[in-house]
Amino acid sequence: MNHTNEKVSRVEISELEKIAYQLRIDSLEMIYRRGAGHPGGSLSAAEIVAVLFFHIMNVNPQNPIWIDRDRFILSKGHASALLYAALARRGYFPIDDLKRWGDLDCHLQGHPDILKTPGVDMTSGILGHGIAISAGLCLAARAKDKPYRVYTLLGDGECQGGIIWEGAMLASKYHLGNLTAILDYNDVQLDGFVHDIMPMEPLAQKWKDFKWNVLEIDGHNVKEIIGALEAVKDVKDQPTMIIAHTVKGKGVSFMENKSTWHGKAPTRQQFEQARQELERMV
């Protein structure tokens, strides 16, 4: 199935691709400066987050708590650097704030914090919360007759925890067509490959069995991401899971597919090399 959308211009797609690489550079720079963070899972989800924040979601950075805005919950909260970069580039707060990530007086916490950072729709960081909290928001939207949609980005390793499936059952019980989950399926977690640590396959089938609408895409293909996210708007009585096949550490040759780059900061030399590789794409 080809989830592309002919209405999106080549120029716009190229622009989103560049934004994704800019977010990669920002994320890595933040992790390098702070000496801490999660590069692998930030790099793998860059196109997904770029498309959501710069093309799909109906939000207003000047009024981050606008009641009818689309919501985004970063269930894989470890990829906070990527979210912060997207929020800053989208205009929620100054880009310079990214340099102070983790400082005691900075609003940017290690993991996303709804009370401190404009544009963060829910605190996350402990894995597993995205589906169930999003489902609650979707129930609220329906009950209050609100038009907003809720997007949540999950990790693959995260789906090893039971709360994900509790939420999955609930979302299908209540036919939450306004809920879209995107799974950053990079097959790498802290201790190694997902398929070794705790195999998740057949993953698409699992979500289908939970009565979700399931799409599979290339998570680095902007056109496919847009196509999928547009297509789900027509699905009214089922939540959707978009399984996005990605590469952990995408865009940095020495980080790709390496669990060692799940949660450590690059050295100065490594960062400079990574930046050179990434800047070619911007």
């Binding site: 919360h129 609650g136 928001l137 609220a140 709360i163 939420g167």
Partner: protein, 317 residues
């Protein structure tokens, strides 16, 4: 006056309040026939969500509903809420300061039939440690009726600890309640008993029994365990110089600890704690028998009062 079980009182109060508060939604984890959230569910099915036997999901879905502008009351057994769903409560309710109301049923020893797996004897301690969490332990049906609107209209998370059972009525009518305020139910110059929940009625009986021995025991009901009424505790410490705490909870971490924290910081006086002494209880034939067997009897409270008065005498020289 008949005794109404706390769950019955809560189920009715939630229905009553919810009928005038369209923003209230109610969730349960397949225990609505036990917690009696079913009264609300039957009247307002469109505002009721049953998530199945999944307490972590119960909390997270309520968080989402609260983020979407509703005031959710979640209902389940206290042992499961405070243990299985604690991470959700810590991260998504307390840390994120989301307006979720946790109605924790079957607390203390009240599920005497099922035994220690379902007893909830450390829940007050756990919830009290969560920043921003209000912890309320009502004594009887009148108080529950009073608390439901106050809790609903308070902005922020609340843990309402409810018994499956009833107890003797403490409040003849619906009292005025306020978060952070205790009740001086009885005055006494020799010792003050500070208590909550089902132990309030037992403490009043203990005070009555002690009077026959010439001991004047005051009784303070501290249903707002967090925030706690520091000034009322310190007033009692000043006036009687000896405190006894009585709770259907472990002596570690609960009301007794909270009271001790206040007096040791501001006005140290001897404190004796009546509660469960760091053990698991057992299955019992009925709640009263079980409470008596595990150190929560009227006589246990009396003993603690005599002991603390004795300690005060020694300390005073």
């Amino acid at each position: 006056m008949g005794i109404m079980a706390q769950r019955e009182a809560f189920g009715t109060a939630l229905l009553e309040y919810g009928s005038h508060a369209p923003n209230v939604v109610v969730l349960d984890a397949d225990t609505s026939s036990s917690t009696l959230s079913k009264y609300f569910a039957e009247a307002f099915p469109e505002r009721f969500y049953n998530v199945g036997i999944a307490e972590p999901c119960l909390v997270d879905v309520a968080v989402g509903l609260a983020l979407g502008g509703f005031t959710p009351f979640i209902n389940a057994f206290s042992a499961l809420l405070s243990l299985r769903a604690l991470e959700q409560i810590r991260t998504c309710v307390s840390y994120a300061n989301v307006n979720v109301k946790i109605a924790a049923g079957y607390a203390g020893l009240s599920d005497y039939k099922d035994g220690p797996t379902h007893h909830s004897l450390i829940d007050i301690g756990i919830m009290r440690m969560l920043p921003g969490m209000t912890v309320i332990v009502p004594a009887d049906e009148h108080e529950i009726k009073a608390w439901v609107p106050v809790i609903a209209e308070h902005q922020g998370p609340v843990f309402l600890r409810l018994s499956r059972s009833g107890s003797e009525s403490v409040h003849p009518t619906i009292p005025e309640v306020e978060i952070g305020k205790g009740f001086q139910l009885r005055h006494g110059s020799d010792v003050s008993i500070i208590t909550a929940g089902l132990m309030v009625a037992r403490s009043l009986r203990a005070a009555e029994a002690l009077l026959k021995e010439g001991i004047q025991a005051g009784v303070i009901e501290m249903s707002s365990i967090k925030p706690i009424d520091e000034s009322l505790i310190l007033q009692a410490a000043h006036q009687t110089g000896a405190l006894v705490t009585a709770e259907e909870h472990s002596i570690i971490g609960g009301l007794g600890s909270a009271v001790a924290e206040v007096v040791t910081a501001h006005h140290p006086v001897p404190v004796e704690r009546v509660g469960i002494h760091d053990i698991f209880a057992r299955t019992g034939p009925d709640l009263d028998t079980l409470m008596d067997a595990f150190g929560l009897s009227v006589e246990d409270i009396c003993k603690a009062c005599r002991k603390v008065i004795h300690r005060k005498g020694n300390a005073g020289g």
